[in-house]
Symmetry: C2
Subunit: 380 residues, 2 copies
């Protein structure tokens, strides 16, 4: 018996109690039952997004909500500035291009970040820029970008700040209102430990003001219509009822744990994973602030990272992820987000030692676990 372990950077495992909540009989979405559910979910989402703004769930995956963010706040011919240092940043660029929005790129090599000063400088030299688009946690490289700094850079300019928090919501602290982030996008299948299929947009006042003048075409992703439906505690179109039912359970779990504790947990898991990986002589791929959601690791010299991913799966029944795009073959990625706890990290590192040894790499057995254990032994 090899127990199946899902340790990719999303989708993450779904707690059994949430799976079983979603297995309850289907209810209709235009009923008092759904309204009561949705009232609770809306209130819980505001806490997780750390905002007084409405959080709008959409029946789609994260990319759909990214597109919603663009088409609801921008108009054809607008210019935006994109923090581009990974595959998910590429997605912002592609969405903008698909809708005729001009992109000013602020690039950094994969594994690096773009300093807030550069964002500020770009907004000074390009005063027509209508929005800054960034990831918070860039899942392809394992880097956490300086969203707080970007928000400060955008403050007082005409640019709104749009943040892809798909792999940071409920993982890394992102106080939307306190930092002054104008639009936060996220998804169900990362920190919220749900199946993929629901994504979110939270718009602050500056973003809603933009929505009033935005001329890009939209229908399914028309957030102004969703906002009108919220007054009736409904979704504009048929919602993904099952996942919303699961979301109520997850929000209760996160509320019970406490958001500060949730962030601390992820930070510990991430530090332990990094310590373990480095104790085996491996190099972290992230050269900038690492994300608490996942750890991207450079494969040892001469080893294709895809063989590491395959060995995890075939020998240990564990799903991790390889590198995307030009990082394919060079990077493997360990997720430790959402429904993830200390002994999951111990499993991931134990398996890594076995995998490396099987691939003929020199391994000091137990070294990665020892390093992780030291982190876990730290008092709070």
């Amino acid at each position: 018996m090899k127990k199946y372990q899902l340790m990719a950077p999303g989708p993450t495992p779904v707690p059994t109690e949430v799976l079983l909540a979603m297995a309850r009989p289907m209810i209709h979405h235009r009923t008092p039952q759904y309204e009561a559910l949705f009232v609770e979910v809306r209130a819980g989402l505001k806490k997780i997004f750390q905002t007084t703004a409405d959080v709008i769930p959409l029946a789609c995956s994260g990319t759909g909500a990214m597109e919603a963010a663009v088409v609801n706040t921008l108009s054809a011919g607008d210019s935006v500035a994109v923090v581009r240092a990974g595959k998910f940043a590429d997605r912002w660029v592609e969405i903008c291009k698909a809708y005729g929005v001009t992109v000013v790129e602020m690039t950094a090599p994969f594994g690096h970040s773009v300093p807030a000063e550069r964002v500020a400088e770009t907004l000074r030299t390009h005063p027509g820029v209508k929005a800054v688009l960034t990831q918070h946690s860039e899942s392809s490289t394992g880097v956490l970008h300086d969203v707080r700094g970007y928000a400060a850079a955008a403050r007082g300019t005409d640019a709104i700040l749009i943040v892809d928090a798909v792999s940071s919501l409920g993982i890394a602290d992102l106080p939307m209102d306190a930092w002054g982030v104008d639009l936060v996008v996220s998804g169900s299948q990362k920190g919220l430990m749900l199946p993929p299929g629901v994504a979110f947009c939270a718009l602050g006042e500056r973003a809603w003001a933009r929505a009033k003048t935005s001329t890009l075409p939209k229908y399914y992703f028309n957030l102004a219509e969703e906002r009108k439906a919220l007054v009736r505690n409904e979704a504009h179109f048929t919602p993904a009822v099952g996942i919303i039912v699961g979301l109520r359970e997850v929000l209760r779990m996160l509320e019970a744990e406490g958001l500060a504790s949730v962030f601390k947990r992820h930070d510990r898991l991430a530090r332990a994973t990094r310590a373990g990986v480095e104790a085996l002589g491996l190099e972290l791929f992230a050269k900038a602030t690492p994300s608490p959601a996942l750890t991207a690791v450079a494969a040892p010299t001469g080893v294709d990272s895809e063989t590491i991913v395959a060995a995890y799966s075939k020998t240990h029944n564990i799903t991790i992820a390889g590198g995307q795009g030009e990082m394919k073959g060079k990077v493997f990625r360990l997720g430790h987000m959402g429904y993830a706890a200390e002994f999951d990290v111990i499993i991931a590192l134990s398996a890594l030692e076995q995998v490396l040894a099987d691939l003929g790499q020199p391994v000091d057995f137990g070294a990665s676990v020892r390093a992780a254990q030291k982190i876990f032994a730290e008092k709070s």
Copy 2:
């Protein structure tokens, strides 16, 4: 104890075995496990859509797939002709307007249909029309439109036929290839008895040819990109994994029942419901061919149909649906699609008798059930 019964025209009940299949541990969507699942699902979908074309699942509700159909086959300034005789037809019109597509309306009063000859005539008088858009089953009125006739009318013209089969797939016969329908849209939460959150587009060769020249903007709903991902047995973006897992179970159930039997079952349920309703002296709202998915009933004179819907819910714990838009207060709708069988109809009619009596209407108790029983007693 009042057992909960979901008898609305979608979402429909999800079989317990499907709910439990979806409660299995989450898997990742870029793995051999998912690939094996998706291979089976793709093959099963082709049978249900009765086509050799690829059926593309999207993580969205039915409206998203309707938008995908429009933005992938049309270009700004194109003209289309819409069969407009219900609230879901309005949606086609709204989507087209949002994207700058000109609509030639072929209207009929709610409860009626548009004859195929009128579609043919419209295509003759408007030779520039690029597509005919219609519902198959119009859920707001309970009418089944003559898709076979529309396909014949569109054949040999420049117009492709795009059909919203959200509430007819796996319910009413719609042999896409045999009838020559160019694009069929459907959703997970009706005939496929799944939670809402997945929708489908199946494109024939003429529709794919259009996709090559279509200039309307799209990203999340870019079907050409989805088609490329199909070669790898993947979705382009993160799919709604849980619902796709459930879909495999549903496709196996439908395969075991046999598609012809599935259609026959729905036809019997619909005929029994109509006979029962009429036995109580009520009038069917559909004056044209009625849909086998649901029965729309005109409320008795002097009775607000919303009070009937409320009484079903409050007194009997049964969810049915009222009228939409201008039909609100005048119509109530009984769903008998998807996971629906004979004794569900008996329940719905028994409850109707009780509800009408409670509202002070004269009721010949048992009359509706007797009429339904006679239908069910018919030999195949």
